[in-house]
C-alpha cells in the first residue's frame, strides 16, 4: 500500500502549521521527516495517521493493505504510550482484542512479536519495571502485532539516551530487513535520519513546507555510524537546517 499526500495544509485556528506538502511514500520504503522543533512534524504525522483532518489537500491510500493487516496506519509514540496497569503481553494483546482473534492465535502473534523485539523473557513485566529502551521495544512490538501497512513513528528514540538509541536503530534496521515495512519516521536527529531513511524530507520552520527531498541509495544494513558518505549527507542536512533552526529558536511561542 502506497501513501500520497496532495497539497496538504493544516492550520490551528489562525496559525498555519503545515503548508502545501506533497509527498509520495511507496510501499517498503522509510521516509524520514526532519525539521526544527515546532515546525509541524507531529501534526503532519497525525494527519497521515487520520488522527486529525487537514484543512485542505488530500491524503490517499493507494492499493490494498497486505493480507492479515489489522490496522493499516499504526503509530509508535515518542513517550511509548503503554498502559501502566498492563503487563508487556497484555499491552500487546490490547490491540488484538478488538479483532475477534481466538486466544491461541493471539498468543501466537504475541510470542512472535516479542521474539522479534527480543522481549520474550519480559512478557509478564509491568512497564514501570522496564528501561526506556525496553518500553519503546514493547511499543514497537505492539505496532508489529497488527501487521501494519505503514508505521508512523513520531520521534520514537528521542526520549532515550544515546547508547540505547544506537541499539534501537540497529533493531529497527534488523526488523526492516526481515520484513520490509513502509515507514514515516519523524525525528529532529540527523543521525537517525541518515541511518534509517531511504529518503529524507527536510521541512522548513513553521509553517512546515518541504524544503528538500534527499534520496540515500546505500542499503540500510550497510550504513554504519561513521560512514563517510552518510557523514557528508548529514553535514548537508545540517547546512539546510541551521538557518531554519536558528530562526525557529528565536520565534516567540504561540500558546
Amino acid at each position: 500500500m502506497d501513501l500520497t499526500l496532495n497539497h496538504v495544509s493544516h492550520r490551528y485556528s489562525d496559525m498555519p502549521v503545515v503548508d502545501d506538502i506533497s509527498l509520495h511514500i511507496p510501499a517498503g520504503e522509510i521516509l524520514c521527516v526532519i525539521g526544527p522543533s515546532g515546525c509541524g512534524k507531529s501534526t503532519l504525522l497525525r494527519l497521515i495517521g487520520g488522527l486529525e483532518q487537514p484543512t485542505s489537500g488530500e491524503i490517499l491510500q493507494i492499493g490494498e493493505p497486505p493480507v492479515g493487516c489489522l490496522n493499516p496506519l499504526t503509530y509508535v509514540f515518542q513517550d511509548f504510550a503503554l498502559l501502566p496497569w498492563r503487563t508487556v503481553r497484555a499491552n500487546v494483546s490490547l490491540v488484538l482484542e478488538d479483532h475477534g482473534i481466538r486466544r491461541a492465535e493471539r498468543n501466537r502473534i504475541i510470542d512472535d512479536v516479542l521474539a522479534r523485539t527480543r522481549l520474550s523473557d519480559f512478557g509478564d513485566a509491568l512497564p514501570k519495571q522496564l528501561s526506556g529502551g525496553m518500553k519503546q521495544r514493547v511499543a514497537i512490538a505492539r505496532a508489529l502485532a497488527v501487521n501494519p501497512a505503514v508505521m508512523l513513528l513520531d520521534e520514537p528514540l528521542s526520549a532515550l539516551d544515546a547508547q540505547t538509541r544506537e541499539l534501537l536503530m540497529e533493531d529497527l534496521v534488523g526488523l526492516w530487513e526481515r520484513q520490509k515495512f513502509t515507514g514515516v519516521y519523524v525525528t529532529h536527529n540527523l543521525a537517525e535520519a541518515v541511518r534509517l531513511g531511504h529518503r529524507i524530507a527536510v521541512l522548513s520552520r513553521r509553517p512546515g513546507r518541504v524544503r528538500e527531498l534527499i534520496k540515500i541509495d546505500i542499503p540500510l544494513k550497510d550504513r554504519h555510524m561513521a560512514h563517510p558518505e552518510l557523514e557528508a549527507i548529514q553535514t548537508r542536512l545540517w547546512d539546510l537546517m541551521r538557518e531554519e533552526a536558528t530562526a525557529a529558536d528565536r520565534e516567540l511561542q504561540h500558546v
Binding site: 495517521g49 488522527l51 489489522l70 490496522n71 496506519l73 499504526t74 503509530y75 509514540f77 513517550d79 504510550a81 498502559l83 501502566p84 496497569w85 498492563r86 490490547l94 490491540v95 482484542e97 478488538d98 509491568l126 514501570k128 505492539r142 497488527v146
Partner: protein
Amino acid sequence: MSEETRNVPYRGGGFSPVAKRGAGFVVFVVLVALAEWGTRAGWISNLTLPRPSDVGATLVELWQSGLLWTHIVPSLTRLVVGSAMGISAGICIGVMIGLFSYVRAGLIPLVAAIFPIPKIALLPLFVIWFGIDEGSKYALIALGTFTPTIVATYGAVDNVDRTLVRMGQSFGLSWSSIVRKIILPGALPGILSGLRVSIAIGIILLVAAEMLGAEYGIGAYILQAGSLYDLERLFAGVLILSVLGVVTSWAIGQLEKRLLRWRN
C-alpha cells in the same frame, strides 16, 4: 600554606515522610495511659473525661449483653446500603460527566450547587419523601456520598493521560474498549481515593440521621448516653465510630493495594 579543610555541609534530606510502623499505636497508648492516670490521680475530673478502663468495661458489657450488635447491625446496614447507592450512582454520573460535553455542561453547575448543602438539613424533607424509617436514612447517606464521588470521578477521568486515549484510537479500538480498558483503569486511583472521603462523609451522616430519629444504631446510642450525661457510654459509642472509620479506611487501603498493584 595550610588551608582549612572540612566536609561539605549536608543540606539535603527531609520532606519525604516514610511509614514508621507502630508510631500511631504508641501515640494512642500514651494518650489513653495519660487519661487513665489523670482520672485516677484526680487531676482530670470525671465530669470532664471518663476513666478509659470504665469505657472499656462499658464496651465489654455491651458486647456481653448482645446490645452491641443490636446497635451496630442497623448502623452498618444503613451505611452499606446508602453509600453503595450513592457511590455507584456517583461513579456512573462522574464517568458520564468526564466523557460527554453536554452532560458535563448540564450537570457540573448542579453538582456545584448540591455539594455544599449540609445534607443533614434535608433530613426533614427526606422524611416526608421516603418515610421516617430506613428510606430517609438511606437517601441521606446516598446523597451525601453521591456528590463527592461524582467530583472525584470526573476529576479522575479528566486526568487520564490523553496520549493513551490517542494510542487506543490510533489502533482502531472501539469506543467501548477505550472506555473500559483505558479510561476506567486510568481513573481508578482517583476514584478510590475519592471513596475514602465519601465513606467518611457517609459515617458522619449516618450518625446524624440516627440522632435525629432512630431506635437502634450507634448514633441513637450516643444520643441517649449524652442526654443522660453518661460519659462512659458516650465514649464507648464514639470509640465504635472511630473503629468503624479506621476499618473502612483499612479496607479501601487493601482494595487499593490489590487493584493498583501496578503503581508502586
